[in-house]
């Protein structure tokens, strides 16, 4: 018979080089402060933050697709739109729009499953454009649908009897909740064994397969999660605008936002999109009265970063300071004292 | 010519004199192909230098080395599948160096080619493809011809035929560096030989001065004393 594992010397495994406890405390404090903002600031501030949270969620999910699974999608707007319209339909049937957000996420995820059977077989260039075609096809289908308002769009019902200030606060909390859920979900996914699979696939797909990784399954999970998250973001979007216009919600501009944010912040890290979102926000505010210039500048910067600084701003920061806010790694230590010893 | 360090090669130095034929023999994985590819400009060595007629060409890109007269017949032929036989030859004259080689002369050397000039090369046999690869290299009128594993995958008769062409090439004053697993053929045609084992030159000399047992030992890396034992 075959002996089992070679005998291991005593060892201990942690998930980061240093203790991650302070990161968790800081994160909890940050979320608590953000959650109390509706009591502290005017609605125009929370209104801006709602858009910021939507963008943060989208960029985080796109980074999960591209930075971890190597899937360059330019069609995630399909799921933003599906999520928005799902909230519209559910609210029309009497469900509270806020409660409809998780359902919309699920709907988007479920639509992604059959799409993934077609798309995930394709090579990268084909995948990129095919995702775009799928998004266009969904848009055209919505435009043809009278019950969804066709080209004129649809107005969200079910929130008209709510006090505007309260509605804005609820919307803000919903956006915050989606952003936190997205970040936390991404973090937990990457910390799980699937996260290890994904990193392995990104680094070397054939190598990953050769050690038993189910490549198609791992990519499928990521594609599903990214679609569901985009659906939730779309749900927040329709609630914040009370209206959805198909050519705008299915616009490829959304892909531009998430791609630029992720590229500038840094692909392949959870922190990157957060950094990128902050930069995007600052640029947008600075150039607010200059029309599309912020997008031109943002796009040019993103192109230059992709060519010369492929790991983005967070890559530079984490290299210099060896910093990780979301530790997902595994560290092997020699055992200390009585901690789990196995011989 | 001097040559230095690559991951697969350690501090290899040797020179080629004009007009001679040098063979580089050794088992696969010994670093022979890496060496030729470095001379052809596909890899840049991590240390050391390559000189051609006194001029440092270590950082010259591959296509400019061809223009300078160093031409590689690569391992596995590497013909262009979407080009016809004749086009595969003609593209060899891209650097437009002066010399006597042209399509007509290659056809003289390999008369069978003329009748199949318009065929895609994928329909040719291995030996025929190797001949096209040699013809393509000659079209550049090389001063140094690097030939990588000419015999690979070919029948012994074809290998012999191809090697019998070498003197004709040499008549034009071309210097030849051969990398070859087929030791016998390589020793038969070369003026000097080096044996490469695990990235180092372990044996050098004129073919007639090398005994078969020395070559065998250097080739497999089995020292003569331990070749019989298990250790």
């Amino acid at each position: 018979m075959i002996e089992s594992a070679p005998s291991a010397t005593p060892q201990r495994v942690t998930r980061s080089r240093r203790s991650a406890r302070w990161n968790a405390v800081a994160g909890a404090v940050a979320v608590a402060v953000l959650a109390s903002l509706p009591y502290l600031v005017y609605a125009n501030v929370t209104g801006v933050l709602v858009n910021l949270f939507i963008l943060l969620s989208l960029a985080t999910l796109w980074n999960l697709l591209a930075g971890y699974a190597g899937l360059i999608s330019v069609g995630q707007q399909a799921y933003i739109g599906i999520g928005a319209y799902a909230v519209f339909v559910l609210a029309d049937n009497g469900l509270s729009p806020f409660l409809a957000i998780p359902v919309a996420a699920l709907v988007s995820g479920l639509v992604a499953v059959p799409a993934s059977f077609l798309l995930l077989r394709l090579r990268r260039e084909y995948f990129a454009i095919a995702t775009w075609v799928v998004a266009e096809a969904v848009l055209l289908a919505v435009l043809r649908s009278d019950s969804l308002g066709g080209g004129t769009g649809a107005t969200l019902r079910g929130l008209s009897d709510l006090d505007p200030a309260l509605r804005q606060a609820y919307t803000y909390w919903a956006a915050l909740a989606v952003a936190v859920a997205t970040l936390l979900g991404t973090y937990l996914l990457l910390r799980s064994r699937v996260g290890l699979d994904l990193t392995a696939i990104r680094d070397n797909e054939i190598g990953a397969r050769s050690v038993g990784v189910r490549v198609a399954l791992a990519k499928g999970i990521v594609y599903f999660v990214a679609a569901a998250g985009a659906g939730a973001a779309g749900g927040v979007l329709i609630i914040s605008q009370l209206f959805v216009q198909p050519t705008s919600v299915f616009s490829v501009q959304w892909s531009a936002y998430m791609i630029f944010v992720a590229l500038i912040g840094g692909l392949g890290s959870i922190e990157g999109p957060i950094v990128g979102t902050v930069i995007f926000y600052m640029l947008q505010q600075t150039l607010a009265d200059r029309g599309a210039w912020y997008l031109i500048i943002l796009g040019s910067v993103a192109v230059l970063m992709a060519m010369w600084v492929p790991r983005g701003i967070w890559g530079l920061i984490s290299d210099r300071f060896d910093l990780r806010l979301f530790p997902v790694g595994y560290f092997l230590h020699p055992a200390r004292g009585t901690v789990k010893v196995k011989s | 010519m001097r040559y230095g360090l690559l991951p697969a090669l350690t501090n290899v130095s040797f020179t080629l004199a004009a007009g001679e034929t040098v063979a580089m023999i050794g088992a696969n994985g010994a670093g022979k192909s890496t060496l030729l590819r470095a001379i052809a400009g596909i890899h840049t060595p991590t240390a050391g230098s390559i000189r051609l007629e006194g001029r440092d060409i270590t950082h010259l890109p591959a296509h400019r080395r061809v223009a300078a007269g160093i031409v590689l017949v690569p391992e596995g032929r590497r013909l262009f599948p979407s080009l016809t036989l004749e086009e595969n030859l003609v593209i060899g004259s891209v650097p437009s160096r002066r010399g006597s080689w042209n399509v007509a002369r290659v056809f003289e050397l390999f008369p069978w080619m003329a009748t199949r000039r318009a065929r895609p090369v994928v329909y040719l046999s291995g030996g025929e493809q190797q001949a096209v690869a040699i013809g393509r290299a000659l079209m550049a009128n090389p001063t140094i011809l690097l030939i990588d594993e000419m015999s690979l995958g070919l029948s012994p008769a074809v290998v012999r035929k191809l090697y019998d062409l070498l003197p004709e090439l040499l008549a034009a004053g071309t210097t030849i560096l051969l990398v070859e697993q087929d030791v016998t053929q390589a020793l038969r045609v070369s003026d000097r030989a080096h044996c490469l084992l695990e990235g180092k030159i372990t044996l050098s000399g004129r073919p007639r001065d090398l005994s078969p047992s020395d070559v065998e030992a250097a080739y497999f890396g089995l020292a003569k004393s331990t070749a019989g034992g298990r250790g």
């Binding site: 075959i2 070679p6 010397t9 990193t199 050769s210 196995k342 | 994928v122 497999f220 890396g221």
Partner: protein, 248 residues
């Protein structure tokens, strides 16, 4: 333990266009065998490994592992059944630490969880002498350490058949000796090993059977020194008429 063969190839052929890399190959390997494999460039050694590991699927023929047909399974499925391989050009996961590289194998290839997986991974790193590098990214390893990581990752899958593709290339003499020792230990646990290597002396010292491949066919199979001495094998390595040359 089953009495049947561990691995059986029956008439396996593989072509790429006009190039034949496996020409109706048949081969039987039993549990605990240590098989060496040699052959000139382009003989089809790496392709044969890929056909066994599932990176390539054959044009015809069948591959059986522990009596089960695996011809239509991909490399991940075959790995989980117990076939692990290394690659000639290391396929390390560059941005993961050495420990994580092996941990993926322990999770997916060996199907372990939690503490069992990290114990296996840690043990394998000890065995491959990579414990000191456990927490550094694979991208910082040198070529020799990368080769060891290939071995460690394959071992992390807890294979019953281990395919080693040139793990000793580029190693110094003492390093090769150390590696042979490691592989001897793996064998002693009952793992069958097929080892492709150009460093023939490493093979001859360790395997009890040598296969010589040329042109996608087996031209020698048996006791190592006998295979190396056979005229067909000498012909392939040293040339068509080496015998003639040595008489002059």
């Amino acid at each position: 333990m089953t009495a049947g063969p561990l691995l059986e190839l029956a008439g396996v052929s593989k072509r790429f266009g006009s190039i034949i890399v496996a020409d109706s190959l048949s081969l039987v390997v039993r549990g605990g065998d240590a098989v060496g494999m040699v052959g000139p460039n382009g003989a089809g050694k790496t392709s044969l490994f890929s056909l066994i590991s599932g990176d390539l699927s054959p044009n015809s023929g069948e591959v059986h592992f522990e009596g089960r047909a695996v011809t239509r399974l991909d490399s991940a499925q075959r790995c989980r059944l117990g076939i692990a391989r290394t690659y000639q050009v290391p396929r390390s996961f560059e941005h993961m630490t050495v420990f994580e590289n092996v941990l993926v194998a322990a999770y997916r290839g060996a199907g372990l969880r939690g503490h069992a997986a990290s114990s296996l991974a840690a043990g394998v790193l000890d065995e491959a002498d990579l414990r000191k590098q456990a927490n550094s990214p694979a991208s910082r390893l040198g070529l020799v350490q990368r080769k060891r990581l290939e071995l460690a990752r394959a071992l992390g899958c807890k294979p019953r058949l281990l395919l080693l593709d040139e793990v000793a290339a580029g190693l110094t003499e003492p390093e090769v000796a150390g590696l042979v020792e490691v592989i001897e230990r793996i064998r002693a646990r009952g793992v069958a090993v097929i080892w492709v290597e150009h460093v023939v002396r490493a093979l001859v010292g360790m395997v009890d059977r040598l296969i010589c491949l040329a042109g996608g066919r087996i031209i020698g199979d048996g006791e190592p020194l006998a295979v190396l001495a056979s005229p067909a094998v000498k012909d392939v390595f040293l040339g068509t008429s080496y015998g003639e040359a040595s008489q002059t």
